[in-house]
Symmetry: C2
Subunit: 355 residues, 2 copies
């Protein structure tokens, strides 16, 4: 059983990717191997130069001539650079030769590889990216989708809800009956835009633990385990949150540096701040899964170091070990009423709205 | 010249509203007066009980029998409680008896009063709420719309852009040629959802200083003075940001309280933290204007104390003093090409998309 790692993707590739793979395989005692997908000459040279060795380890180099650059359009990965490490790693999953795909490279390109090269899992129309935000109750709240889709339809949000439910229950294991909400701009039923108003009655028809509308603030209150939204909104929220977190810390730092006393104070709270930063770092969790693809698809941060790469590989192996896609399919059949699964939800929305 | 203040709206109403009004009128030496709109008996009793006096001040009580509660549906203010302080304050502006409306009450209801009782200004189809976020460069970035409209169309975003431009230039005065962006999920032209893709070419046709797509993080970078978006997305961003800011401070506090040393440290940086909190408090800025209504419409925070009420009244008077609506109309005519103003933008979107 192998995970296909895009060995050339990320700010510290390929060295950190190689090291992360070695650590991962050693730790799991060769049970799950890694395909290091990338330029063979460069990878071998890097291994030699740094006195590393993959001998006796379940690690194989799979040659890929090209590399997707961080600023290249996602379409490049799909159509032009078919020999890129990312494209070839994706193909290994599509062909069933690898059980999972992990990349720290160009996020948009990795997402496209997941959606179009690897493709959707059985029973799924559109994969969605899930991000687990740390919340006030010390648990996590999963927001899905954070950017794999724009202009989503009610049907897609319905499936995101089941993906999020399955992710929380099987992988994060923070709840046995995840509380599911839909992101809106008001708590009461009937508040929101057209998409929310049309999706709400569908979610109510499922056997999910659907709680109702969630507002922006609820991403952090801990009152929800899963919040579904269109990928445009989710992506804006994700980027706003990441940015605001960093800027608040910077602003505090600036204020603190204005006096000697507060500088001393800052030095004293430094360990606490570091613990906090770790807690709040969205990248700490091994990356974000693109749920609903064949196999497993993990997209991790470009600045992933060897520890982050190892974590991403471990994270991917959890999906494999928990037979995630099997359980997702079971949950779709169990939680979504048949008439909705058959794609008749548009008619239903019409009926429910009294049209 | 009078501002109509909803004297019964807000957590500390009516006392803080009365005090704020008195301070405001004293400070501007009766140049701009205040209508205290609310229950006459209650207001007079409150003034007497607290040894206050409005004698010699340009303050008049306008009786309103009812009060809109904080949790009531906006429609209540419009249709049922026509004798509420909020509804009557709105009517004073619509009828031209007051130049501005200020409320710290139920936000949704105040917004509805602005949109439907006061109504849109000349040349405007849909008013939009603007919030000025503090940014990294020490300036502010205006996000518009943050909740007055959902499912907006390209035409609306185009007008929000001109409202934001005029707000930055005339009221905030942080730039003479405000950089305008459109909130999206990728920097390049062509990234985003349908609304963004259709609005982009229209913004390019204007004489605005249109810079292109802004991402979630750009709300805080200071690279944009104005960012336009649909009210659904804007409201989610606003609520997420407010909540995340508070939660980060709480999480830091929790971490800090884990050791005596960091507690001492925290005590030393307390003044710096307080300065920071003030800087980051969205409510510090006197409230959010609902731009594009007749007169001026300021919606301020429910927890507004007397200083916040005074600030909101001062803020409203700035719009009056700068003849905001006149300048907004001038800018619409100056910055938006005639063919777009005439409502032909839908055809144009089709043409530009090669349909």
């Amino acid at each position: 059983m192998f995970i296909a790692l895009d060995a050339m993707g990320g700010d510290y590739a390929p060295l950190c990717n190689i090291k992360g793979a070695i650590d991962f395989v050693k730790e799991n005692k060769n049970k799950i191997g890694v395909y290091l997908v990338g330029n063979k000459d460069i990878l071998e040279e890097e291994i030699k130069k740094n006195n590393l060795s993959i001998e006796g380890l379940s690690i194989e180099i799979v040659h890929a001539q090209e590399v997707i650059q961080m600023d290249e359009a996602p379409s490049i990965a799909l159509r032009k650079k078919r020999n890129s490490s990312m494209h070839i790693a994706g193909k290994l999953v599509r062909e069933g030769r690898a059980v999972a795909f992990v990349s720290a490279g160009n996020t948009g390109a990795a997402m496209s590889v997941g959606k179009f090269i690897i493709g959707a899992a059985e029973g799924i129309e559109r994969p969605g990216i899930a991000v687990a935000f740390p919340n006030k109750k010390g648990s996590r709240t999963v927001l899905i989708d954070v950017g794999a889709n724009v202009d989503s339809r009610p049907r897609h949000l319905l499936y995101f809800a089941v993906m999020g439910h399955t992710y929380v229950k099987e992988i994060l294991q923070t709840s046995n009956n995840p509380k599911v909400g839909i992101l809106s701009i008001g708590e009461e039923e009937g508040k929101g835009n057209e998409l929310v108003k049309d999706t709400y009655p569908l979610l109510k028809m499922t056997k999910l633990n659907f709680v109702g509308n969630a507002e922006g603030r609820d991403i952090f209150t801990g009152d929800f385990d899963v919040i579904v939204c269109d990928g445009f909104v989710g992506n804006v929220v994700l980027k706003t949150s990441e940015s605001l977190g960093m800027i608040i810390l910077e602003m505090i730092k600036e204020e603190v540096e204005k006096s000697l006393i507060s500088k001393i104070g800052a030095a004293l709270i430094l360990p606490a701040l570091k613990r906090f930063k770790k807690k709040a770092d969205f990248a700490e969790y091994g990356g974000a899964p693109l749920l609903g693809t064949k196999g497993t698809c993990i997209i991790t941060h470009g600045r992933a170091d060897e520890r982050a790469i190892k974590n991403a590989l471990k994270f991917a192996s959890q999906f494999v070990n928990h037979d995630f896609n099997r359980k997702l399919l079971d949950n779709i059949n169990l939680l979504i009423p048949e008439e909705l699964r058959k794609g008749k939800e548009e008619e239903l929305v019409g009926e429910l709205n009294g049209q």
